[in-house]
């Protein structure tokens, strides 16, 4: 059913901290290895050892240089499905293969219904849809729907693979519909933003922008060092210090 639920009970999603991401690709391959055997298996790789290798990946990390009058910085930017509240990728789907879950807000594809028309990928401004040319269907991030509720995993492992893997703790998971949740709090505290808010898709995932240098670390208000003006210079100072 490609009509959207009027509201979802939860808004499960990710928060990605661009201030902390070092671009190590841990989330990328953790996602690939979980999902290539998971709900949408396989994440096919075409020409895997050749010159035109092209695989299905649900999570990709870009690198940008952001230059402002404050100076320049390099920003590593993981990009995956944002599980929007207004996902046009769902509503454009002619077959009902794309849908948004009423319970948790996860946007999924029912592969058996997908005809591979690719329109959902055209409708997604974020490039979250991944076409598997081998199977002829569209695939996408499932928010690890087969992990986060998986009775066969230890309770503590029921988080998306990318969140579990991230070595710098730059990825967070939770219910963004619950303002009291830890993840919502994090978004509030850090001024999390939507991507392309002007398009009205209302993404669930948020990005925490890199903090300005002055605000992200305790500022070291170090007074300038003053040369020792005492008699005998530095060595004289040592003598006095040691005789104290």
């Amino acid at each position: 059913m490609t009509c959207l639920p009027a509201r979802t009970e939860k808004k499960l999603g990710l928060v990605i901290d661009l201030d902390t991401c070092v671009g190590c690709q841990a989330c990328v391959t953790a996602c690939k290895e979980w999902n290539t055997g998971g709900h949408m298996a396989p994440l096919t790789d075409i020409d895997p050892y050749g010159g035109h290798v092209d695989g299905v990946w649900f999570n990709r990390v870009h690198s940008y240089e952001h230059t402002t009058e404050m100076g320049g910085r390099t920003v590593n930017f993981p990009r995956s499905c944002l599980h929007c509240e207004q996902p046009a990728c769902v509503t454009v789907c002619p077959t009902g293969a794309s849908y948004k879950r009423a319970s948790d807000g996860i946007v999924l594809v029912d592969e058996d219904k997908c005809i591979g028309c690719k329109l959902c990928s055209w409708a997604c401004p974020y490039g979250a849809r991944e076409f598997d040319t081998d199977v002829g269907v569209m695939k996408k991030c499932t928010l690890c729907v087969d992990r986060i509720y998986n009775d066969n995993l230890a309770a503590e492992d029921r988080v998306p693979a990318c969140v579990a893997a991230c070595p710098t703790s730059a990825r967070h998971f939770g219910d963004l519909g619950d303002p009291a949740s830890a993840i919502s709090q994090l978004v509030t505290d850090r001024g999390g933003v939507d991507l392309m808010p002007e398009l009205g898709y209302k993404p669930t995932n948020k990005y925490l922008p890199p903090r300005a240098r002055s605000e992200r670390a305790a500022k070291v208000d170090a007074p300038a060092l003053q040369p020792i003006r005492a008699e005998g210079g530095f060595l004289g100072w040592i003598d006095r210090m040691l005789s104290n």
Partner: protein, 976 residues
């Protein structure tokens, strides 16, 4: 505190599972609880040298997925980009399948398959002949080897001094710089106090040791709002998230650090108390130019270094806890002039040549920034001190009610190391740390056991006496303390094939693997018979001057025989080096083998306690391959090497697993420290425990011991720690470790250069020894800059491994290579504009050693005088299971082609290894280049190009499509 943290690194409230993780009743038919494993095997990763704990999930007999072990002290549940892609390494199409014997010319890749018995017989016969005649004619060098305590011991028992691992071209400068100064080092042998530091400086680190721990640590700093300052020409990775990025000019970090020291000294912002307690700053240095002991320490009759008691005004034992030593002044002891080390330090670094203004231009960092950083360091170290309420007792028995800390920490690696001035730069950074009183204090840089050890640690390199059928009298690698310890003949000529521990590389603690092929080819200092190598891609990205190296490997003499007569190589994969071997011993993947990550070698210790780990086969090989260590043990037995055979001549160890459990290096101390003793109740020292491996497996593949609180800091002078370290066999006696700001061993070399002592350098070497064996850290221009016309070659060229491929040889990995299969040359936008270059242009990158062609990408985040690229992406056609049209061999390029393996000729015409003159560390990052836009018809493909290798017998073409994981789903859905 890391120790009290919840299970796993990613366990913030915003990273936990849903409070109610029961599946909602969505009714969409999604199977939310598929069975994803039949069993979990906990072992140790080997996708890089980081040694993380992994949980390998096995489903239907195949590896379904790998994730981090939450209990593991190294990675605490996280896993990096390589770790998760281990599956694709394990199932790589480039895996070797059977022993191979060369049939075609060397380098052609033409082989026939042989049985293991034949392979071992060939090797045994050859090696046996060498051992009977001249054991030096075996050169045994290992690459990314985590079993050096075995391989080194094997070489020692064989009787050849010609052994080392790849440390010489990796980061020996960091190891030696640290071990000769503070008795520990950066690398993975120490770590910042991530939980307490407030100011973190990162020098020259892209992805490097320690991979995941640094990332976890940076995450902690970010969460706490501690300041991160990076000093790096490139603004990638860790440097991208630094609060301050200082895009320094390559090779000038030492200058920058000494300017910081200048500022701190000038302002009197150094920790005098710390210097007195833990360093040789008060030790008196003889100031008698021309005499044989000039610059050596003044010692008492028992050999104890003396200090000057400023109250009693007499010389005293410098380590006497009751002494009140002076740090400055000139004194006369036994009629001879001397002065404390610290006075020498102050005199040298207070000189205006070290002022920020004097170095700013050369460093590419403005003077105000240098002054600001110095002020911030001082401010945090001295005004934001922390104090942990932990009482402890120092080595002299003095009780302290708290542990005081100066929360400034530093980490440095390859960017410092891979320059020919890296040893001294590394020492300069340690000097800075020590002056601020931040080594092994709360908030500072912390040692991981078994470090600290005395600076330098005890054993000297063996190999002075090499005789047929006779083991060496020690391990081939060690630490020299003066010219007498060098491995040279009467004429001062090197006696090791790599010239380690010679006048050309005196402190070569890790050997010079990068010199072996050239020296063996040239027969300099002597010809060898067999070169045996393990797991190192010396015919490609692990060598400098690749084109020439490849030529030397296949070169023949006038008689038509190969100049390196026989090459045995062991590797798991069809790398660029395999085709140059005469005999190929196929290794297993890391999931198919036993290993031990030993305290005798490179353990998994944490600053809060020692640890070690194992690998064990979690899946069985489907090919006729054997783990190299087991093969080596069998070779040892076939050769009858002492230690490898019982008295009756039978093999002492069944295989590596058997060795791991039953080998004792000294009584009670073996490869693994956990669960020793008959009942498994002992740690460190204890009888062999036959169940030891099982105990490790039961514990998740590792052993870890937590220090008591009072052992956690000040390990260099902490009674409780030192006693423990002795008990564990880390150090011989519970003496304090004194930081050697002034290195007396280095001064001994200088004295030799001045004609003193019996071990004398050849005259041609005196100048170098005098210049570079300075007992105090100093800065000099990287050697290449001394010989190259800098106007002709105005740019520095650097490489870094991408984080997702660091140490992982990822081009055969279907997932990792998708991320980077073509490397670009990154160049500063303004520099490019000056050179008339646009994005995506193809250019020649030219050095004095040759030229290589690649495609550029313009960026802002790089020092304007520096270009850089991702290393080891360019591959040779025919290797690694890649297809002929792979980007790696068509568009990717290898910078190694233009990095010389030797320096340009000096005035006397002599060419040295392109290495640090102190340690022999390969100077990868010294290379200077110019960039020239290539002609239009030259664009689009890399050069030089190499002939394609043949494929070994029974190699199937790599698949055109990979559907890994489909079988899990089919099976799952069929079961539903």
């Amino acid at each position: 505190m890391s120790r009290a943290a919840p299970r796993g690194a990613n366990s913030a409230p915003s990273q936990r599972p849903l409070a109610d993780s029961r599946a909602p009743n969505e009714g969409d038919g999604v199977e939310t609880s598929p069975s994803v494993f039949d069993r979990i095997a906990k072992t140790t990763c080997y996708m890089c040298a980081c040694r993380c704990g992994i949980d390998v999930h096995i489903k239907d007999g195949k590896v379904r997925y790998i994730n981090g072990n939450k209990d593991h002290p190294v990675n605490r549940g996280v896993i990096c980009g390589k770790g998760s892609a281990g599956i694709m390494q394990h199932y790589s199409p480039a895996r070797l399948k059977k022993p191979l014997l060369r049939t075609g010319p060397r380098g052609s890749g033409e082989f026939r398959e042989i049985e293991w018995d034949e392979a071992l017989s060939i090797a045994t016969e050859r090696l046996s002949a060498i051992r009977r005649t001249d054991p030096r004619k075996l050169a045994f060098f290992t690459g990314r080897d985590q079993s050096q305590s075995l391989t080194g011991w094997w070489a020692s028992k064989f009787g050849t001094p010609n052994f080392a691992a790849h440390g010489g071209f990796c980061s020996v400068n960091m190891a030696a710089g640290g071990l000769y100064t503070i008795g520990g080092s950066f690398w993975e042998f120490g770590e910042p106090d991530w939980d307490n530091t407030k100011y973190f400086m990162l020098f020259g680190v892209a992805e490097d040791h320690d991979s995941n721990p640094i990332k976890i640590g940076l995450g902690k700093l970010k969460a706490r709002g501690a300041k991160v300052v990076s000093i790096n020409p490139c603004r990638t990775g860790y440097n991208a998230i630094a609060d301050d990025w200082i895009g320094i000019r390559p090779g000038t970090d030492g200058l920058f650090v000494l300017a910081l020291i200048h500022e701190l000294l000038k302002a009197g912002r150094v920790d005098l108390d710390y210097l007195l307690r833990y360093t040789n700053a008060p030790v008196l240095v003889m100031q008698e130019p021309g005499s044989a002991d000039d610059g050596l320490f003044v010692r008492d009759g028992d050999g104890n270094p003396l200090a000057w008691d400023r109250v009693a005004k007499v010389p005293v034992n410098a380590t006497d806890p009751d002494a009140r030593p002076a740090l400055s002044g000139t004194y006369t002891v036994n009629g001879r002039r001397c002065t404390p080390v610290f006075q020498l330090i102050a005199e040298r670094y207070l000189d205006d040549s070290h002022s920020p203004d004097a170095v700013a231009t050369r460093c590419g960092v403005d003077a105000d920034t240098i002054r600001r950083i110095a002020a911030e360091l001082a401010h945090v170290a001295f005004e934001q001190t922390i104090e942990l309420p932990i009482a402890w007792t120092d080595w002299a028995g003095r009780r302290h009610e708290t542990m005081k800390g100066r929360p400034v920490s530093m980490h440095a690696m390859r960017g410092i190391s891979a320059h020919s001035n890296g040893f001294h730069t590394c020492r300069a950074i340690h000097l800075l740390q020590v002056l601020l009183g931040t080594v092994d204090v709360p908030g500072g840089f912390r040692f991981k056991p078994p470090y600290p050890r005395s600076a330098p640690p005890g054993p000297k390199p063996a190999g002075k006496d090499v005789r047929p059928m006779t083991p060496l009298d020690g391990m081939p690698l060690g630490f020299v303390c003066g010219p007498d310890d060098l491995l040279v003949d009467e004429a001062g000529k090197p006696t090791r094939i790599d010239k380690a521990y010679s006048w050309e590389a005196p402190l070569a603690a890790h050997g010079l693997m990068h010199s072996v092929i050239r020296n063996a080819w040239a027969g300099d200092p002597y010809p060898i018979d067999t070169l045996m190598m393990y797991m190192s891609n010396m015919a490609w990205n692990s060598s400098m001057n690749t084109v020439e190296t490849v030529r030397m490997l296949a070169d023949k003499d006038e008689a038509g025989t190969y100049r390196i007569p026989f090459i045995i190589y062991s590797d798991a994969y069809y790398s660029e080096t395999v085709p140059f071997a005469d005999l190929v011993l196929p290794d297993t993947t890391y999931l198919e083998r036993h290993d031990c990550i030993s305290l005798l070698d490179r353990p998994i210790s944490h600053a809060d306690g020692p640890g070690d780990a194992i690998r064990h086969p979690v899946v069985q090989p489907d090919r006729d391959v054997r783990p190299f260590q087991s093969v080596l043990i069998e070779l040892g037995a076939r050769l009858g090497l002492p230690g490898f055979v019982d008295e009756d001549g039978s093999a002492k160890y069944r295989d590596y697993a058997d060795y791991i459990v039953n080998h004792e290096r000294t009584p009670g101390i073996g490869p693994l420290a956990g669960w020793r003793g008959k009942d498994g109740g002992a740690i460190g020292r204890g009888d062999v425990n036959p169940d030891q491996l099982q105990r490790y497996i039961d514990n998740g593949g590792f052993w870890h011991h937590d220090f008591s609180d009072d052992q956690r800091y000040y390990k260099m002078g902490n009674r409780a720690y030192l006693d423990f370290a002795v008990e564990m066999g880390f150090i011989p006696e519970a003496e304090p470790i004194v930081f050697q700001l002034y290195s007396e061993p280095m001064q001994r070399f200088r004295l030799a250069a001045r004609g003193h002592g019996t071990a004398q350098p050849p005259d041609a070497e005196r100048g170098r020894i005098e210049a570079y064996m300075d007992p105090l850290p100093f800065w000099y221009a990287p050697c290449e800059e001394e010989t190259v016309d800098l106007d002709q070659y105005p740019l520095h060229a650097l490489t870094q491994r991408p984080m997702h491929m660091y140490h992982s040889w990822g081009s055969q990995n279907a997932w990792l290579r998708q991320i980077t299969s073509q490397n670009r040359l990154f160049i500063h936008r303004e520099t490019a504009s000056r050179l008339g270059l646009a994005d995506d242009d193809w250019v020649w990158i030219e050095s004095i050693n040759g030229r290589v062609k690649g495609q550029i990408k313009l960026i802002d985040g790089v020092n304007p005088d520096t270009v850089w690229t991702w290393n080891a992406i360019g591959k040779r056609r025919g290797g690694w299971g890649l297809k002929d049209d792979a980007a790696e061999s068509n568009r990717g390029f290898l910078l190694n082609h233009i990095i010389g393996d030797r320096t340009a000729a000096d005035a006397s015409g002599k060419r040295y290894s392109n290495s640090d003159p102190v340690t022999g560390q390969a100077a990868w990052f010294d290379v200077r280049v110019r960039i020239v836009k290539c002609a239009p018809q030259e664009a689009g493909f890399t050069e030089p190009q190499f002939e394609r290798f043949s494929q070994p017998p029974h190699f199937k073409p790599s698949p055109d499509i990979l559907r890994f994981g489909a079988s899990f789903r089919m099976k799952r859905e069929a079961a539903e």
